[in-house]
Symmetry: C2
Subunit: 256 residues, 2 copies
């Protein structure tokens, strides 16, 4: 996104040993990327850290200083390995205590005998935190300043975004157009693509090859060319010109 105009920027912080051990495949980063793109909020970087307070604090402080928004996922459940609320409190230098509204939500959700000390932990929020509604399982996330703290379970994280979206200032969304070139590798289109990129410095041009399966036929190899920018007519014009340049060079463009 180096060549796109300024817009609010964001970072994602995925928290959890299970991602780093390989046990769980993260999907939250992609969900957040797809959530932010149409809002015109530029996702600039993402990090994955383990269930360690020092790591979470260091990453959070670096990211919240560098970006307009930080979205964290993971570590807000009832078990001893859920340390995100404390880590966020430590990062901001504020105490963490039971949030009355969060407590009320949880009390309503559980039968009296079920609402034990472990589940009460999910009401703990750093000072100044504003709750993020969890319509799936009750236990809320929370926002502290520019940091949105959400669940790690993908279904819950995704549901929380409904409550997050209205709180974000938005930017001009990035438009993209793709061209699917087949029958040649990306090396065959590189010069044409570079010239197109140099001609339109406000746009971003990417090339993503495909067809590396074991015994592919030459017809099945190719590359996806992606043009991105904030000005839709300019992106459309770039696609039109690039298509023409590729066809002039005898390169086949497949329907997408």
């Amino acid at each position: 996104m180096s060549k796109l105009s300024p817009s609010p920027t964001a970072a994602v912080l995925i928290i959890g040993d299970e991602i780093l051990s390989g046990r769980t495949r993260d999907s939250n980063m992609n969900t957040l990327a797809r959530f932010l793109a149409p809002l015109g909020v530029d996702l600039m970087e993402a990090r994955v850290v383990g269930d360690r307070q020092d790591q979470i604090v260091a990453a959070l402080n670096a990211l919240r200083a560098a970006h307009d928004y930080v979205f964290t996922t993971g570590g807000i459940g009832p078990t001893h390995d859920d340390i995100t609320a404390d880590a966020v409190g430590a990062a901001f230098g504020v105490p963490v205590s039971e949030h009355p509204e969060a407590l009320a939500i949880l009390e309503r959700r559980y039968a009296p005998g079920e609402f034990n000390a472990a589940r009460r932990r999910m009401a703990r929020v750093p000072e100044g935190g504003v709750l993020i509604a969890n319509p799936v399982s009750g236990a809320p996330g929370f926002q502290v300043d520019n940091v949105f703290v959400m669940a790690g379970v993908p279904k819950i994280m995704e549901a929380m975004l409904d409550d997050v979206a209205p709180r974000l200032k938005t930017g001009s969304p990035v438009h993209s157009r793709s061209l699917r070139v087949t029958g040649v590798g990306e090396g065959a289109v590189a010069d044409i693509l570079r010239a197109a990129a140099e001609a339109r410095p406000h746009l971003s041009f990417g090339s993503y090859p495909f067809g590396f399966s074991g015994d592919h036929k030459p017809s099945e190899i190719g590359t996806q060319l992606v043009i991105r920018g904030r000005n839709q007519p300019e992106v459309d014009a770039a696609e039109h010109d690039l298509s023409a340049d590729l066809r002039s060079a005898g390169i086949e463009i497949a329907p997408t």
Copy 2:
């Protein structure tokens, strides 16, 4: 992994605008996590950055100083947006030039008319770089000091690991055992799990709830408890004791 003994540590750096835009779902981080775990190399953190030299250099320099190994994926193809070799050169403060062996590999791979300037770019390696074989599509990766620079295409990245594995010093692998608890949420097992974790401070205990689909039956909710450690008998003993504690509390353990 906070509670596991020292071992070589590693970080992953995923490079590419397409991951941050949400267009592409990264799978390389998980592949690397699963590759490193049995070698006893602890993956401590991962980062995703865009195709921007300043971002790549900053992340790479932070990660290579903090860990025994860094594995990067993406940005080593023939197009103008492939800037990883230059960024790695800049991070190490060394020039980048055509590597004779890489050039020979590429010359053999392409017909004379096909081996154009763009494809020659894939022979560019920072000074001191040692090639990493690419049995899928020829164009090699490279190792500079403790940094392994690999392709972004998952099939190629995975194939490169065969050449990377023998270069790593290994540690004692982490063993893990899982217990699948059903019919109750993780809040119901939190106290038992915490006591188990406190009794065995050298092990790591995680809890990962499931069953948050739209209209689940209570019997389909539950949590996966994961015990991890370097001492297999200790992990086995912990699983045995935790199972007994859960059963004593009337909690059902499903076959895994």
